[in-house]
């Protein structure tokens, strides 16, 4: 703690010749120029984030000719028909598909991930460390490495372009991180509660579900948010695994995949408002989740990286 202070104490000598350094007043006079500059820059970046998003939402109310004509026209009418059209053009189906997959994949990820992490964190048995590293190692490899054999594996199980196939693959690929994070979390829980529960005659399974899992709730929320966002935004796995396998095999695209599909189609059909409306529809749930759980989302995603 003392080292940095010494360094800074030695540093400012030349600058403080004409000023009395310790008074807040000097900080303010130096601050004026810097403040304008830094506030300006902060505000500029905020605009750079907000404006393109607003502009895109606004563009979905325009006509195709208007979009092509000039970037800064104002929509002629505020009709919500375009959202209806986008929903019917596939966004609705993609949305439902994504929800179906996530309704199963996220809880299953959390369940299996916590089960494995719990056993690895709390029980001594032969091969425990090995198994733990085996799970965690998966996080280091790029998913591309597995893509080709994964495709044929899912094909052999006859699960290409099926919900259950994608769900199982999502669960498997979310394992490394979930196990890693929950393992750390279960280790921090007090042993006394666990012992009390066993002494009271609860089975190991019951202790896990009724005592340990509820205690791990904060960890579950963080990992849950992380996995939900990650699986909702996943693009590569569905691109490879969710292609119709024959003429009468229906499309089961997820939202990310569907948007790109729509983008490629609209390029030819020139109905850009529908594409933009589709993006707006896809953005809304994310915006709602983010604004309502803003702290947890930020904490969940960043603690995930740091652990």
């Amino acid at each position: 703690m003392s080292a940095p202070i010494k360094e800074t104490a030695a540093g400012p000598a030349p600058r403080s010749v004409d000023k009395t350094p310790a008074r807040p007043g000097s900080g303010r006079s130096e601050g004026v120029v810097l403040n304008v500059f830094s506030h300006g820059f902060l505000a500029l970046w905020a605009l750079l984030i907000i404006l393109p998003l607003l502009w895109l939402v606004l563009s979905s109310f325009k006509t195709d000719a208007q979009i092509g004509g000039s970037a800064f026209g104002w929509p002629h009418s505020w009709s919500f028909d375009v959202f209806q059209r986008a929903w019917n053009k596939g966004i609705g189906d993609y949305f439902v598909n994504t929800v179906i997959v996530l309704v199963f994949s996220v809880p299953l990820t959390m369940l299996f991930g916590s089960m494995a992490a719990y056993v690895l964190a709390r029980y001594q048995f032969w091969g425990n460390r090995l198994l733990y590293y085996f799970f965690v190692a998966g996080a280091m490899f790029p998913v591309f490495l597995a893509l080709v054999p994964l495709f044929f594996m899912v094909k052999r199980l006859d699960m290409l372009n099926t919900y259950q196939g994608l769900i199982l693959v999502y669960v498997a690929y979310s394992m490394p991180f979930t196990v890693f994070f929950m393992h750390a979390f279960f280790r921090t829980l007090p042993t006394a509660v666990f012992e009390a529960s066993i002494l009271d005659g609860a089975s190991h399974t019951r202790t896990f579900f009724q005592v340990m899992l509820p205690m791990a709730k904060p960890g579950l929320i963080s990992v849950g948010i992380f996995n939900t966002l990650g699986q909702w935004n996943q693009f590569i796995l569905p691109t490879v695994l969710m292609q119709p396998q024959s003429g009468d095999d229906p499309e089961r695209y997820v939202l990310t995949q569907g948007l790109i599909q729509l983008q490629q189609q609209q390029g030819y059909a020139s109905d850009l408002p529908v594409l933009f409306a589709g993006v707006t529809i896809a953005m809304i749930p994310m915006l709602v989740v983010y604004l309502s759980f803003q702290r947890q989302v930020q904490a969940g995603l960043t603690s995930a990286t740091l652990k």
Binding site: P24, S38, P142, P149, L150, M153, T256, L301
Partner: protein, 309 residues
């Protein structure tokens, strides 16, 4: 009791381990094997060809070009993102000077954090559509429209951001930076908040300006986090598949004329479009090796003495 415990352990591990083995570990292992064959994917027969795929790989101009593009991303994406994120994090946490002379974030820092982080929750597919529209190659594109208004771009001859060999990579870098700054800002903020306030205040009393507080206090104490961020951004730079394949021209992206090609797009094209599975597996292995080398190198190169506080 003991026996019951083992049954419990085995029961809890069975499903997770089975899923993980089938869908993650086994495919990873198989990739190494397939990369030594001439497997085309459609037929179930294939021959062992040794290292031929790897030899072909390094004579494949498209793939070697792609490696260079990944390296360019590897240099610029982390540098730009981390610098911006550090600057913003510093301003938002300790850049302000309160009336009493203390140290705090600038006004409105809560609002800025919420806004900056938002792109992080959007999918890359949404980014692709959004920036596809921003970079549109006529005055209907946001960027061209804006620059035309300013008189910097001739409306008759707008910039084709994604079709200009010299611009396309920079256009992509900008998207990644736009997406990532908020995330790393929040990451650095969390680390900065754990730095005791009195260190800054002591520095302030000693007459340190903002720049000095930053370089002498914040950066050294944040080094671990910066290192982590560097590795993560490096992994993103090695990937880039989604943005390149959806924003640039060509089957699985990479256009114009392979000027934005990255390893992942070449691999996916070979696998899904040309059906050269064995060859694609060899690319996967090369990507893995480069990623590992990169991680080890980054951790080594940026290693410093840890400062306890």
């Amino acid at each position: 009791m003991r026996k019951g415990q083992y049954r419990f352990v085995a029961g809890f591990l069975f499903v997770p381990v089975a899923l993980y083995l089938i869908f993650v570990i086994w495919p990873y292992i198989q990739t190494f094997g397939y990369s030594l064959t001439d497997w085309k994917g459609q037929s179930q027969t294939f021959k062992f060809v040794g290292l031929d795929n790897y030899k072909a790989l390094f004579q494949d101009d498209v793939f070697t070009g792609a490696i260079w593009h990944n390296i360019l991303f590897l240099i610029f994406i982390p540098v730009i993102t981390i610098l911006l994120a550090l600057f913003f994090a510093f301003m938002l946490n300790v850049g302000g000077r309160s009336r009493a002379g203390g140290v705090a974030g600038v006004a409105g820092s809560g609002f800025y954090k919420v806004v900056y982080f938002f792109p992080q929750v959007l999918s890359l597919a949404i980014l692709a559509v959004l920036f596809g529209a921003v970079y549109r190659s006529d005055s209907g594109g946001m960027l061209n429209g804006f620059l035309t208004k300013l008189g910097l771009v001739d409306p008759e001859n707008p910039v084709e951001w994604l079709n200009e060999p010299n611009l396309v990579l920079w256009a992509l870098i900008l998207v990644v930076v736009w997406h990532g700054v908020g995330f790393y800002l929040v990451l650095f903020s969390a680390a900065m908040q754990s730095i005791p306030r009195d260190i800054y205040e002591a520095a302030l009393i000693d007459g340190a300006g903002r720049a000095q507080s930053f370089f002498r206090i914040t950066l050294p104490l944040l080094w671990d986090t910066v290192q982590t961020a560097w590795v993560y951004l490096g992994i993103i730079a090695m990937d880039m598949f989604v943005l390149v394949s959806t924003m640039t021209s060509g089957q699985y992206g990479g256009g114009p004329d392979h000027h934005s090609e990255v390893m992942a797009t070449v691999m996916m094209r070979n696998f899904l479009y040309f059906g050269k599975s064995g060859y694609a597996c060899a690319m996967g292995v090369v990507m893995l090796l480069l990623t590992l080398v990169l991680s080890v190198f980054t951790l080594r190169a940026t290693r410093r003495e840890r400062i306890e506080f």
